[in-house]
Structures are given as structure tokens and as C-alpha cells.
């Protein structure tokens, strides 16, 4: 984390130098502008963080006091009891959902990243027939809205009787055209041809060179692709909605959605929905904040080109 911050700060260091050098030159950026800027940012900090704070508080209360006590401050600290109830409810179906999400998004994201990385690398580093055609098809794929695929995928999967299975959600998730696009751009600039020639002279095979040398050079792009694919799969809603009936196959977001729809019949589910929501966002926040050095450099590579 500290290295991540250092690297972004060094990028921004030219700015801070500029800011300092202005100091003695008089009050161009006067107190007024500074105050307005801080007030704007402060107000929006509240906008972005208060809902999360509210969720933390709600997760610490039982169903009764969620409705009756101050929603923005602790009343009876019941968080651990709530977590216990959550994990025990219906034989731990919530834990099953967490595991499913980890498999769909974690394993699916990793496989998607590897496949996209290999393809993007080949498109960047080798010349072969059909290369441009493949890249153009991939670019078109980036623009195809994923939800447009959900219905036809359902119709196809029901032909081969794969709906309502793990594979119905997993298999479509391991294809990432955006990943191919980003890794191609990144590989073109970060893996030098001289290096590949040197590896060839040493007698290393092409595939081996990729897995031992190139993959390391491409790691910022690969981590970016993994994170964004992870989030895409974790957040995917249409595919589980249309494919899955069996509760034990749900990813956690879809499971919480299904509980939320039952609130009118089973009001005591409310505290479980809220603590479940809180627990489910923690892995994502931690992953994003701890890996930000990598995905930010990958993001800027994608945005600039």
C-alpha cells in the first residue's frame, strides 16, 4: 500500500512543486477559492461515505432497533450476533453464496485474464494472417452490451440443458474482449522485441518465454484486467437472474436480492440483508484499495491510448 501511494505521489510531485513555487508569488489561489474547493469536496465526501456508514450502523443492530433508533449511530452493538445469525440462516446458505461468488468472480476472473492476456500478447507480438480481423472482432465485442447476450445464452444453454448449473454463469464470464484490448496495447509497449529475440537465442520456446518473462512485464495490465473482470462478474445480475433457479448456485449479490424481494413476507430478513450486504462489499473494497498501484497504471494506459 505504501509503495502504491509513493508511486502516485511521485507522479504528482511535479504538481506539488508547482503549488509550492506559487506561494511567494502572491494570493493567486486565494483563501476564497481554497475554501470553496474544500467545502465542495467535504460535502461530497459525506455524500459518498454516509450511506456506507449507515450500512455499518445498520449491520450492528437487530431488526427492531434498525427501525426505532438513530440510523446514524450505534445503539445495541449486535454485529457479531448478526453475523452469526447470517451464517446460520438456512444452514449457511449465505456462506455458500460467498463461496459461489468467489468461484465465479475469482476463478472466472483469473481464467479470463489469462486467456485475454495470451491473446492480447499474440496480437501485439506476432504477425500472422487474420490478426487485424481478430482484433477488430474483439473491439466490436467490447461494444456489445453484455446484457444483450444474456437472453440468447439462456436459449442456447437450455438447448444443451446447462441452465441452472454452475457452468451457465461461469463459462460466459471467462471471455473478456476488453481484456484482450488492454493487454494488447500494454504488451506492445512493455514487452520489447529485443528481449524476445534474446530469449529465442537462449533457446527458450515461445510459450515458455511468455509464462516466464512476458507475463511479469505485463503484470500491471493483467492485474487491471483481473480486477475489472472480477468486479464485472461479481456484479453480474442478468445472467444469474435468467439462468439460475437453485438457491445453492446463487452468487452473493443475487442471493441478497432474492432475500430483499421477500422482505414483505419475512420482515426479520431485513437485518440479515443489511449485514449480508456489508460483509459482501468488504472483499471488494479491500481488493481495490490494496491493489490500486497496479490498476491505476493499467487504467491510464487504457484511457490515454
Amino acid at each position: 500500500m505504501s509503495t502504491a501511494l509513493e508511486s502516485t505521489e511521485s507522479k504528482a510531485s511535479s504538481h506539488s512543486v508547482k503549488g509550492r513555487s506559487r506561494g511567494p508569488r502572491g494570493p493567486r489561489e486565494n483563501v476564497m477559492s481554497r475554501t470553496v474547493a474544500m467545502v465542495i469536496m467535504g460535502a461530497f465526501t459525506l455524500y459518498f461515505l454516509v450511506p456506507i456508514w449507515w450500512l455499518v450502523i445498520a449491520g450492528s443492530k437487530d431488526t427492531g432497533s434498525i427501525l426505532t433508533t438513530n440510523p446514524l449511530w450505534f445503539a445495541d452493538f449486535q454485529m457479531f450476533q448478526n453475523i452469526g445469525n447470517l451464517f446460520a440462516y438456512r444452514d449457511g446458505v449465505y456462506l455458500e453464496w460467498l463461496r459461489n461468488s468467489a468461484l465465479y468472480a475469482g476463478v472466472g476472473g483469473a481464467v479470463a485474464t489469462l486467456l485475454a492476456g495470451m491473446c492480447g500478447y499474440a496480437l501485439a507480438k506476432y504477425r500472422f494472417r487474420g490478426r487485424e480481423m481478430i482484433f477488430n472482432a474483439v473491439l466490436g465485442g467490447v461494444l456489445v452490451p453484455a446484457t444483450a447476450l444474456a437472453l440468447p445464452l439462456f436459449l442456447i444453454f437450455s438447448k444443451v440443458e446447462l441452465t441452472n448449473t454452475f457452468w451457465a454463469v461461469f463459462l460466459p464470464s471467462i471471455v473478456s474482449p476488453f481484456g484482450v484490448y488492454l493487454t494488447r496495447i500494454f504488451a506492445a509497449s512493455s514487452v520489447s522485441d529485443e528481449l524476445l529475440e534474446a530469449a529465442r537465442l537462449d533457446g527458450a520456446g515461445e510459450v515458455r518465454t511468455f509464462f516466464t518473462v512476458s507475463i511479469k512485464l505485463m503484470s500491471p495490465a493483467l492485474i487491471t484486467v483481473f480486477l475489472f473482470q472480477f468486479v464485472t462478474i461479481w456484479n453480474n445480475f442478468f445472467l444469474p437472474l435468467i439462468m439460475l433457479r437453485d438457491e445453492s448456485l446463487f452468487p452473493v449479490t443475487f442471493g441478497l436480492y432474492s432475500w430483499n424481494t421477500q422482505l414483505n413476507q419475512i420482515p426479520e430478513l431485513r437485518s440479515l440483508v443489511l449485514i449480508g450486504a456489508l460483509i459482501s462489499i468488504i472483499p471488494l473494497i479491500v481488493a481495490f484499495l490494496s491493489l490500486q498501484k497496479f490498476w491505476r497504471s493499467g487504467l491510464s494506459a487504457g484511457a490515454v491510448k
Binding site: T45, L155, V207
Partner: protein, 303 residues
């Protein structure tokens, strides 16, 4: 880009001379096969299904699918629920996308200006909502908007955020809350890559931060803004999870509130041929909108 160099050579010779053929196949084939199976095949299948109609022999006869030309498409454009949902999303996008990107741009410019302290904190705080899935964000805001649970009862008991008039904009708020920080970071990354010398001269001439931002920084980060706009347009037309969740909080969200909800509702009837035609129409509209937006902004840039 390098296509012009490889293409002119005679295909046969080029194929023979391609070195490392086996490695290329190993690298490309897995993705290519899956891309065909889970991207191209579904698109083709959706188009095929959309061209079929179900016919029955008499009222109780077995249904058979026969070629119906574009008749499903005629039905799509006569389907009021679908057209309404499309119009609703266009109105949504026309307001929500500029507001969200305007905020993201202002935040990014402030982060890039010397006016702020604690930039790292703001950057992280504004980005945290992006880690919250749409479903969860909608559950959170659904509670925050509800008159019974909200911490802001004084407001929510007087203004019906979940009623027919405002619920669309309450959903817009959820989407904005999740995505502002993400778009802010994309624009901010672009700002960081501008060399400081670019506005050194303007500063010497006495230009203030606002003037520098308006005349120098914003034109230079245009590509990043266009990129975020295209992704936002695509995202808007695909909206599904947030309104679907809001159905639990608001009776004003119908099962055909957004185009994708209409597709899902139509497919569950079940009328998969009509739903397939809707999917195709929606994908085409998305493509045309994002593509013409790109072209439009590029032409303006060239001028």
C-alpha cells in the same frame, strides 16, 4: 495499425512464412473458441430467433417455429412497454450522464489543482462506492429513501423519492453514487499525464486555476471524457439490477421499467422470439448511439 504492412503480401506465402505458428495457435485459440461460443454464437442465435414466429395448427395445435421475416421487429416497435422503457432510459441518460461526468470532471480538476489538501483521502473516499455492487447500492439507497428507515426522515417523509414522479431520478442517484469516483479516476489519470510545462506559460501570464482548467486541461483530457461518456451511454441502456431491486421498495417501478427488464419480462411470458428481437434492437441502438457519439465528438475535435 500495422495491417498495411502485413496485408499486401500474397496470403499463401505469408501463411507459409509465419513463424511460431504453434505458439500463436496456443495463445489465440482458447480465447477465440470461447469468444465464438459465448459472443458470436449468441448474437447469431438471437438474430435467428428474432426472425422466427410461432405458429399453431388451430387453437390447441403443437407450436412450430417458422420463418417470419421482420414481423417480430414490427411487433417490437409497436410494443408500447418497450418503447416507453426506451424513452425512459434516453431521458435518464440525457440527465444522469452529463451530471455524473460533470461532477467527475470537477472532482478530477480539483484533485489536480493546488487548491486542495488531503487529496489522497478524497481520491479514495470518492472511489469507494465503485466497489459496491449495483444490487447492494440499490438496497442501501432504497432503505435510505424509504420514509420509515431513512436517517433523513424530515426529507423523506415530505418528498416521495420512491413515487412515480421521482423514482427514476432516485435510481439515477444510485448509479451516480456508484460511478462518479470511477469516472473521476479515469479523467484524473489523464490529467496526471499532462506535462506541467504545458500550463507553466499560462501561469506566468497570470492565468488563474479556473482559466487553466477551462482553456488547457479540459481540452487535453477530452479523449478520456469521451471514453467515459461512451461507457456511460452503454451502461445506461443496459440498466437492470438497480431498478429490479427498487421494485421491492417502490410500486412505481413496473416490470417493464427499463428495456432490459422488458426483455426479461417478455422472455418469461415466454415469448423468446419477441424478446430476442428486443435484445437485437437494444444492442443496435446502443451501438449506434455510442458509435455516433464517438464520431460526433471526433469531428468536433478535428474542426
Amino acid at each position: 495499425m500495422s495491417a498495411t504492412q502485413t496485408l499486401p503480401s500474397a496470403p499463401k506465402r505469408a501463411a507459409k512464412r509465419t513463424p511460431h505458428k504453434r505458439a500463436i495457435a496456443i495463445f489465440v485459440a482458447p480465447f477465440a473458441v470461447l469468444f465464438i461460443l459465448f459472443y458470436l454464437l449468441p448474437i447469431g442465435y438471437a438474430i435467428r430467433q428474432s426472425l422466427l414466429v410461432v405458429e399453431r395448427d388451430g387453437t390447441f395445435g403443437a407450436p412450430t417455429e417458422v420463418f417470419g421475416g421482420l414481423s417480430q421487429y414490427a411487433l417490437v416497435f409497436k410494443d408500447n412497454a418497450f418503447i416507453d422503457s426506451l424513452g425512459r432510459m434516453l431521458a435518464f441518460g440525457a440527465v444522469q450522464v452529463p451530471v455524473m461526468l460533470g461532477l467527475a470532471l470537477v472532482f478530477a480538476l480539483l484533485l489536480d489543482s493546488p487548491l486542495l489538501r488531503g487529496k489522497r483521502f478524497f481520491r479514495l473516499a470518492f472511489f469507494v462506492p465503485y466497489a459496491v455492487p449495483g444490487v447492494i447500492a440499490a438496497i442501501m439507497w432504497g432503505n435510505l429513501f424509504s420514509p420509515r428507515l431513512s436517517p433523513f426522515k424530515a426529507l423523506t417523509s415530505n418528498v416521495d423519492f420512491l413515487g412515480a414522479d421521482l423514482v427514476l431520478w432516485s435510481i439515477a442517484n444510485v448509479v451516480t453514487w456508484v460511478f462518479v469516483g470511477y469516472n473521476m479516476l479515469i479523467i484524473y489519470s489523464a490529467l496526471l499525464s499532462i506535462p506541467t510545462e504545458t500550463y507553466e506559460a499560462a501561469r506566468m501570464d497570470g492565468a488563474g486555476q479556473f482559466r487553466i482548467a477551462w482553456s488547457i486541461k479540459i481540452p487535453l483530457v477530452r479523449p478520456a471524457i469521451v471514453l467515459t461518456a461512451v461507457f456511460s451511454i452503454i451502461g445506461t441502456l443496459q440498466l437492470l439490477a438497480e431498478p429490479q431491486v427498487f421494485q421491492s421498495f417502490s410500486s412505481a417501478v413496473t416490470s417493464s421499467f427499463t428495456p432490459n427488464m422488458t426483455v426479461y419480462a417478455t422472455a418469461s411470458v415466454p415469448n423468446s422470439n419477441l424478446a430476442a428481437a428486443m435484445s437485437v434492437v437494444l444492442a443496435l441502438i446502443t451501438f449506434v448511439l455510442s458509435f455516433s457519439f464517438l464520431k460526433f465528438t471526433q469531428r468536433k475535435e478535428a474542426r
